[in-house]
Each structure stands twice: as C-alpha cells, then as structure tokens.
Amino acid sequence: MVSGIVSYGVYIPRFRIRVDEIARVWGDGDDISEGLRVFEKSVPDLDEDAVTIAVEAARNAIHRGGVDPKRIGAIYAGSESHPYAVKPTGTIVGQAVCTSSSYTAADFEFACKAGTAAIQACLGLVTSNLIDLGLAIGSDVSQGAPGDMLEYTAAAGGAAYLIGSRDLAAEIEGFYSFTTDTPDFWRREGMPYPEHGGRFTGEPAYFKHVTNAARGLMERMGTEPKDYDYAVFHQPNGKFPVRVAKILGFSKKQIEPGLIVPMIGNTYSASCLIGLAATLDIARPGERIFVTSFGSGAGSDAFSIRVLDRIDDIRCNAPSVRDFIGNAKYLDYAMYAKHKGKLRI
C-alpha cells in the first residue's frame, strides 16, 4: 500500500533573540554565532508551551489539507518538553482540533527525533489499514541552562504531519532507523535543564547515527544522493547538517531550502520536520526529498519521500515556514529571560 503525507503544518513563535545578544550577557566572543552558524532563535510567548504549539501546527496541517479531523485515528505527539509529566499532550490536541473520540493517542519522547518516531508509528497503523489518518507531531519549547552552550540554540517550534494512504501530497517510499545506547544528552526526572556531553555529542552521537541511518536507507532502496532533489538533516546548529550532508555526498543546493536553523535555532522534536516542511513549501511534483532526523540517546530515522501532484493544490492553504520566519519580533535578554521563566517572581 502506498502511504505518506496527506498534509503538513508548522508553527513557529514570533519572538526571536539574536545569538549575539545572549553572547553579550555571558561575555562570550562576538564570533559565537558564526561558529555555530546560528544567528537568532525563536522564543515562545509567555503563554505558549509544547501543547499550544502542537495545536497550532496541527490546525495548520488540517486546514492545509482540507481534511475532516474526524478521520484521524491516532495522534502521536513527540516532544521533550511536554508540559505534563503525566497527562498526554495528544488528548489536548485531539480536543482542540475537533477529532472524534475514536482515536488512540500517546506522547513520544526521543530527544530531537520524537516527531519522526511519531510519523513511523502512524505509517505502521495506516499501512496495516488499522486507521484512516494519523496525526504525527513534533513540538518543543526546548530548554538551555543560562550560560550553557545549549542556550544559544535551544528554540521553540512545532510541525504536524497527517499520515494516510489516499489524497497524498507526498509518498513516503521507505524509512530506516539506526539506534544505539549513547548517553550524549539527557535530562533527569524533575530537572529543569538538560545536560550534555559537550564534544561527545558530535562524532559518536550525531554523525554516527545520521550517517548510518542515511546509508542504511539508501542501501535498502538502492538510491544515491544524486537521486534526490533535496535533503534535510536534523539541525542542532548550522554546522552539523552541512557537514553530514558533505560526508554523505549531498550538495549545498540540496540542503539549502530546508536549512532553517540559522534563522530560528534548534526546535528539537520539530527541527528536521520544519526543515522538511520548508522543503515541501517549494518542492514540485515528482521531486524527491531525503530526510534524516537525530535524537540524542541516540537514534536516527531516515525517510525517502517523493512529492506528488496534490502538493500544488494544498500548499497555499496555510502559512509557509518562510511566513513564520519573516514574522519576527526581537527581544533583549531581559525579556527573553521573562519569556522563558528564568526569572522567578
């Protein structure tokens, strides 16, 4: 059975802080934004969290596809910043997008790749004909401790994908995952900020998993980088996806449309899903997109996607990624600290 993306929607909060402003406060060098290749990052409003972002993204996906939400049979919400430790994000999303009550839901957590894991779970239910439509979401208001390197990139955003087997905007031709036990980044129960292994997050974590998943999928499908028009990789900063693309043999042109981290930072569970959405915003029917996520802990999911004719019919029914990027309001560090709850009243 052919299955894939029926529709997609994104949401990026409109507030931004420039990386140079964070560096000014902590006395780090002026060149930190150049080093990270991240120049500004999105910041949630005072009344936004992973749930509100997930709802906005899901509503955009449903509106873009002109889909009856009563068809949705599963909602899987991926995040590492679910506002409740116990109480699903997915049920709030379901109520807010007016599904029926006849659906299954669960919240996923796999660092930055929980959203692509949600897509895989929906694909399983759709291709086995157990549900008509699945709603897979990656949404985060990610945390970085004041003064930690993570603070320069930890951003907020969400992406939602409706997965089905008819009226497809893009076919998911295949996927492949690569997973190991790698303690590169973690947050213990009850702790407000995550910890990480510094440089250990590079070679043994991001690069090992992304390259293995990507090569595994291309080997399984008998494809090469030149068979794809675009490629999207998880974007913890602006350097890693560019370097991993080069290692794998993808060109700068292939990754450019989906490389959004320099403008909005690392949106964690939404990172490569927003990159994919930015690519779908411009892709033409017949073009192919290669996507590989990465989640610390660690694992990568690679997808091969072929864009279909329906993309042109639905594309403009909801705001594009560039619409959100262009609608920015800048904060200084004091206002940013207020928005992120770093100030205790």
Partner: protein, 151 residues
C-alpha cells in the same frame, strides 16, 4: 490542593473551539451557548455552532496591574471582540507588532489561559491575534529562485 478541574473540563468545548449555539428560526448566534433563544422562546430551533473565531475589536484596555495569576503577563491587552457571526466576547489580544486598535481584525489562537500553580492543571483556550493571510506562493517562488541562483 483544591482543583477547579471539573469546572474547567465542562467549559473545554467553549474555551478550545468557541462552541456556541445558533437559533435556526431567528438566525441569531449565542456565545456562551444558550439553551433558550430569547427571541423565539418556545418556538426556537437551537443547534450547536462552532464560531469561526474571526472578528473585530470593539474596544480594549491595557492591564498593567494584574491579579497574581496574570502578573507575569503584564502589560497585556484585554479586548471586547465582536465575532463575525455577531456575539461579543472578552478575550486577550496576544502581543503583536502592530498597536492594538479599535476596528482591528483578529483571529483565534490557542494559548495557556492560566495554571493552578506549579502542581495543578493547566487551562488552555482561545486568545486572539491580528489576522494575517498566508503569502506562501510569493515566498516559495522567491526561495526556489534563490536556491537555484546559489547553485
């Protein structure tokens, strides 16, 4: 701790999706929902109706000194909004680049309305933001061209 969870739960359809009622006989819309049409009384034909959520600001005020629950949000704008179907409702206008004005067109957004402290439930619901239209065709074409030029 005491919780208002049952009270909040009962109003979820109204808070999340502006579920009201509509009288099919006199064509009047009601929010919050009414069980009785004051115009048609016993002859009313009431049905559930989900409001589009788009409307126009009738008047507004800016809150600088809020109650404890809302003090993190100050200053914020509270408005009376006339929904396109007719009813007027009170809602918060989220921070926006444009100055809030009487007559401004708004759309619904999903936000946190309040929290029962650090341990209780989180109340979600509808606030309002300035109406924007997607411009995806222009931006998509521009991006495609810039990607091709940089190759």
């Amino acid at each position: 701790m005491t919780t208002q969870a049952p009270r909040f739960w009962r109003s979820i359809p109204q808070r999340y999706n502006l579920l009201g009622t509509h009288c099919n006989r006199c064509n009047e819309y009601f929010f919050p929902p009414r069980n009785l049409c004051p115009n048609c009384r016993r002859g009313a034909h009431l049905e559930e109706y989900t409001f589009k959520g788009t409307g126009t600001i009738v008047t507004y005020t800016t809150i600088y000194n809020a109650t404890e629950e809302f003090e993190r949000l100050t200053p914020y704008n509270l408005a009376i909004i006339q929904l396109d179907e007719g009813p007027k409702i009170t809602g918060q206008i989220i921070s926006c680049s444009e100055e809030v004005k009487i007559g401004m067109r708004v759309r619904p957004v999903f936000r946190i309305l309040g929290k029962e402290g650090d341990r209780g439930i989180i109340y979600y619901g509808t606030k309002f933001a300035p109406l924007i239209e997607p411009s995806c065709l222009e931006s998509a074409e521009g991006l495609l061209n810039s990607a091709k030029e940089s190759d």
